[in-house]
C-alpha cells in the first residue's frame, strides 16, 4: 500500500530538527549564506531538500467573533517534495531519472539525468532544484528517504520530530485520520486537507488551523494530476508515429517508382532515337 505522511502544522515549534536530519542522512551541505533552512528567509535549494519556513499570520478568529486585538501569531511550515501520486516530474522525464515507487516516494537516479530540467517546469509545487554552481550538475529534491522506507524505517525527518508534527503510515489511513481531525465537532482546523486533491493527490498531506494561503502554500495547483493533462495525446504518439511511418514509406515508394518510370521512359526515348 502506498505510504504517506500527515503533517499537522499546529504542532510545529520550529526547532528545525527535520532539516538537520535531512542534511545528515542525505549528506547535503549547509549553504546558509545562500539559502537558509529555518526561519523567515528559509527556502528550498539544491542542498536544502526540506526547510522550515516561519510565518507571522493574523490570529484565527472563532466564528462570530472579530479579531479586535489584531494579534499576530507564529506558524511554522515544513516544506519538501509533496510526492504526488501521479508526478509531473516522472512523466516529463524521458531519461527515467525520476521514478515513482510503489511505496510512495518519488525517487531520483542522478546517473540517468541528462540535465534537461523538464521536471522543474512540470512540477506544480516548484520542488526540483538544479545544481547551478556545479560542473556536472544534476537535479536534487527530497526523495522521502526511499531507502529508509524500503528498510522498514520512517523517513529521517519524521523520526527526529520532537513534537510528532509528522505521522508516517499508509496514505489512506492518514487521510481518514486527517478527515476526522478536520471534521470533528470542535475542530479548530481549516476545512481543507492540503494534498488530498492537489495535483491529483500527494503522499504528503497537511492539516492546519491557519488558512493555507497565508502559509505560502500554492493554491492554484490543479486538482487533476499533471500527467493527465497530456496523457491522452501523449498515449497516441506511438500510433501517430506508426501511421506517419507508413505514410512516409508509402511516399518513398511512390516517388521511387515515379523516378524509376521516368528514367525508364528516358532510356526508351534514347534507344528509339
Amino acid at each position: 500500500m502506498s505510504k504517506g505522511i500527515l503533517v499537522n502544522l499546529t504542532k510545529c515549534i520550529g526547532c528545525g530538527s527535520c532539516t538537520v536530519a535531512c542534511k545528515m542522512y542525505n549528506g547535503n551541505q549547509w549553504i546558509n549564506e545562500r539559502a537558509e533552512t529555518n526561519g523567515e528567509h528559509a527556502e528550498l535549494a539544491d542542498e536544502n531538500w526540506t526547510v522550515i519556513q516561519k510565518f507571522r499570520v493574523p490570529q484565527p478568529v472563532e466564528t462570530g467573533k472579530t479579531n479586535e486585538t489584531n494579534q499576530e501569531i507564529w506558524r511554522f511550515v515544513k516544506r519538501q517534495c509533496m510526492h504526488c501520486k501521479e508526478p509531473g516530474c516522472v512523466s516529463s522525464c524521458f531519461a527515467k531519472a525520476f521514478q515513482k515507487t510503489e511505496a510512495g516516494p518519488v525517487i531520483y537516479y542522478p546517473n540517468n539525468c541528462v540535465g534537461c530540467r523538464y521536471c522543474m517546469l512540470a512540477c506544480p509545487f516548484k520542488i526540483p532544484k538544479f545544481e547551478w554552481d556545479k560542473t556536472i550538475p544534476v537535479i536534487t529534491k527530497c526523495v522521502m528517504c526511499g531507502n529508509r522506507i524500503a528498510k522498514g524505517q520512517q523517513p529521517a525527518c519524521v523520526s527526529v520530530c520532537p513534537t510528532n508534527v509528522m505521522k508516517f503510515g499508509d496514505r489512506d489511513d492518514l487521510l481518514a485520520e486527517a478527515k476526522e481531525l478536520v471534521s470533528s465537532k470542535d475542530s479548530h482546523y481549516v476545512q481543507h486537507i492540503y494534498g488530498e486533491e492537489e495535483a491529483g493527490g500527494t503522499s504528503w498531506i497537511y492539516v492546519s488551523d491557519t488558512p493555507f494561503e497565508q502559509l505560502g502554500f500554492k493554491m492554484n495547483v490543479p486538482k487533476k494530476s499533471i500527467p493527465s493533462y497530456t496523457s491522452t495525446y501523449m498515449h497516441s504518439t506511438p500510433i501517430f508515429g506508426a501511421i506517419w511511418a507508413l505514410v512516409l514509406t508509402g511516399l518513398y515508394f511512390f516517388t521511387k517508382r515515379k523516378d524509376h518510370v521516368k528514367s525508364a521512359e528516358n532510356k526508351n526515348s534514347e534507344t528509339t532515337e
Partner: protein, 513 residues
C-alpha cells in the same frame, strides 16, 4: 599511385571499428545509467535507525528563536542527540510544558542549561565578544566590568585548574590586562540586594508592606521569566528588588559616575556572569533605571553581558596565561563584600544571606552560630526547607528550590494556600549560579562532583570572611549614608527595584504538568 592507396583514406568506419564503438557505447551507457537513487549517503544517530513506526524516546532538539538574546545554535554542529530537549523538558520543564500550537514566541527562559548539555558545542551563548572588543578599543569609552560571585570559582577550570579553585585575584588581573578601566565586584551588590530584599521581607512579614507572603527571590532572571510565563498569578510574591547585576549596573552609571566624575554616557558597563539568562535580563526594556534617574532613558543599566566561557575565550585569544598572572584586588569603589554576598552563587546562598540580615532586622539581636552554617538549605537537593525561630517574632519558614522542574510542587502549594513559607529562593540552574548556563563546560551532563567543588569554594570564601553579614559591609553602610538613603527608600526604589510583566498570554501552559 596504387589503387589500394587511393582507396584507403575513404574508409572511416570499418565493420570492426563500428562494432567496437557500438559495444563501448552500450557498456558505458549501461554502467553510467545504473547508479543508485540519490539520498542516504550520510548517517543518523542510532536511536533513529530503529525499524517500525516507533518514535525514539530521546529525539529532536529544542527550538531556538534567531532573536533569542541568550542562546544561539550552529546547525552545522547539531547531531540531534536530543540532550537539549531532555534538559529543557525534564530539568527546567520549559519545553513540552506548553500546549501547541505556539502563540507568538518560542518559550525560553534563557537559563542556558542546554549549552552545558550539548555534546558538540552547537548550542552556545549569543556572541558578546565582538561588541566587547569594539568597546575596549574605543578610547572614548570608559569600560567598567563587574564579575559575578560564581565566575571566580570556575574560570580556572578553563586553564587547567581543578574545579573549585578560587581565582578571584587572577581574574581581576586578567580583566585589567584585557584593558578594562575599572573592575568591580558583583558580590558588593549581592550585599546591596540583601539589604533591599531582606528589608522588603521584613516589611511583608510584619505587615508594613501590602504584598503577599511568601516572598520569592528575584535575582535569577531565568526564574523570573519562568514565573512570568507559567505562574503569572504569583508575580506579586516576587521581590521587587533587582538582581545584583542590574543593581550594580544602575549604581555604576549613577553613584560611581558621580564619585569618579565620569559622564555616564561614556561608561560602557560590562558584566561577566555565569549565566546566559543575564544577557536577556540586561536587554529587558525596563532595565534602564539609571538612565531614567539621569534623564536619558536610552542609557542602560548594563550594556553588555559576557559569560565565564566568553571571558576565558577572550583571555586565551589575547594570549594571556591566567595562571601566570599576579593576583590583583578589585578597584576600591563598589567592591567590598561580606561572606553572605559571596555565597549568592550557590543554591541556598541567597536564602542564607537574607535570613542572617532579616534575623537582625526583626529581632535586633546578633544571629546565632546556626545562621552562619545553615545546613538545611545547603547542598544539591532540588528542594530544601528550614524553620527558624526568631526572637520577638516567632517562626520564619523558608524554602530553597533549584531547577525549574522542582518549582511546581512548591508553587502549587503556595497557590492553594497549603505552603506556609515566608520566603522562598528560586534558582533556574541545579546547584545555583555556580553551574549556570555560562559556566565552563564539564562532564555531560554536568556532574554533581564539579558542582560540589564550586559550591565548597564559595562557602570557603564566606567562612574566611571577616564580615559575614550584608548589613555590616562597611561600604554598604557608606553607600546608604552618602547616597541611597535607607533600604527601600525613595532613591533605592527608583534605582534598585523593578516590576514584572505578565507573559502568560504568550504561552498556553500545559494542564497537569
Amino acid at each position: 599511385m596504387k589503387p589500394e592507396d587511393q582507396h584507403e583514406p575513404n574508409i572511416d568506419v570499418s565493420r570492426r571499428s563500428f562494432i567496437k564503438m557500438a559495444g563501448t557505447g552500450l557498456v558505458v551507457g549501461t554502467i553510467g545509467c545504473s547508479g543508485q537513487p540519490s539520498g542516504g549517503e550520510g548517517w543518523m544517530p542510532s536511536q533513529y535507525e530503529g525499524n517500525g513506526n516507533f518514535p525514539p524516546q530521546v529525539r529532536g532538539r529544542i527550538p531556538i528563536d534567531p532573536q533569542n538574546l541568550s542562546i544561539t545554535r550552529d546547525d552545522r554542529k547539531c547531531i540531534l542527540c536530543g540532550q537539549c530537549a531532555e534538559v529543557c523538558s525534564k530539568v527546567e520543564t520549559v519545553m513540552y510544558n506548553y500546549e501547541l500550537p505556539l502563540i507568538d514566541n518560542i518559550p525560553c527562559i534563557g537559563c542556558g542549561q542546554c549549552t552545558l548539555w550539548c555534546p558538540t558545542g552547537a548550542i552556545t551563548e549569543t556572541d558578546g565578544l565582538t561588541a566587547l572588543v569594539e568597546a575596549l578599543n574605543d578610547p572614548n569609552k570608559h569600560v567598567v566590568v563587574q564579575t559575578a560571585p560564581s565566575t571566580r570559582v570556575a574560570l580556572g577550570e578553563e586553564f587547567g585548574l581543578p574545579a573549585g579553585t578560587n581565582v578571584e585575584g587572577r581574574q581581576v588581573a586578567a580583566l585589567k590586562s584585557l584593558g578594562f578601566d575599572t573592575v568591580l565586584d558583583t558580590n558588593f551588590s549581592a550585599d546591596l540586594t540583601i539589604m533591599e530584599e531582606a528589608t522588603e521581607l521584613v516589611q511583608r512579614i510584619t505587615g508594613k508592606l501590602n504584598a503577599p507572603i511568601p516572598q520569592f527571590t528575584s535575582c535569577c532572571p531565568g526564574w523570573v521569566r519562568y514565573c512570568e510565563y507559567f505562574y503569572p498569578d504569583l508575580l506579586p510574591n516576587l521581590s521587587s528588588a533587582k538582581s545584583p547585576m542590574s543593581m550594580l549596573g544602575a549604581m555604576i552609571k549613577t553613584y560611581y559616575a558621580e564619585k569618579r566624575g565620569i559622564d555616564p554616557k561614556k561608561i560602557f558597563s560590562v558584566a561577566v556572569m555565569p549565566c546566559t539568562a543575564k544577557k536577556f535580563e540586561a536587554g529587558r526594556p525596563e532595565m534602564n533605571h539609571s538612565g531614567l534617574k539621569i534623564g536619558d532613558p536610552s542609557i542602560r543599566d548594563t550594556d553588555l553581558v559576557i559569560t565565564t566561557r566568553e571571558l576565558a575565550k577572550l583571555i586565551k585569544l589575547r594570549g594571556l596565561d591566567l595562571l601566570k598572572l599576579e593576583p590583583v584586588s578589585y578597584d576600591n569603589l563598589l567592591s567590598e563584600y561580606s561572606g553572605a554576598g559571596a555565597i549568592f552563587g550557590v543554591t541556598g546562598g541567597v536564602m542564607e544571606a537574607a535570613v542572617r540580615t532579616a534575623y537582625v532586622q526583626i529581632s535586633g539581636e546578633k544571629p546565632p552560630a546556626l545562621l552562619f552554617n545553615l545546613q538545611p538549605v545547603r547542598g544539591l537537593a532540588g528542594m530544601k526547607e528550614a524553620t527558624l525561630e526568631i526572637p520577638n517574632h516567632g517562626e520564619v519558614r523558608v524554602a530553597v528550590v533549584a531547577g525549574m522542574g522542582n518549582t511546581h510542587k512548591v508553587l502549587e502549594r503556595v497557590q492553594n494556600g497549603t505552603g506556609n513559607w515566608h520566603f522562598i529562593e528560586f534558582m533556574a540552574c541545579p546547584g545555583g549560579c555556580i553551574s549556570g548556563g555560562g559556566q565552563p563546560r564539564t562532564a555531560l551532563p554536568p556532574s554533581d562532583e564539579v558542582r560540589s567543588a564550586r559550591i565548597g569554594a564559595l562557602y570557603n570564601v564566606d567562612e574566611r570572611a571577616t564580615v559575614r553579614l550584608c548589613h555590616e559591609n562597611p561600604e554598604i553602610k557608606t553607600v546608604y549614608k552618602d547616597y541611597l538613603g535607607e533600604p527601600n527608600g525613595h532613591l533605592a526604589h527608583a534605582l534598585l527595584h523593578t516590576h514584572y510583566e505578565n507573559y502568560s498570554m504568550h504561552l498556553k501552559k500545559k494542564v497537569n504538568s
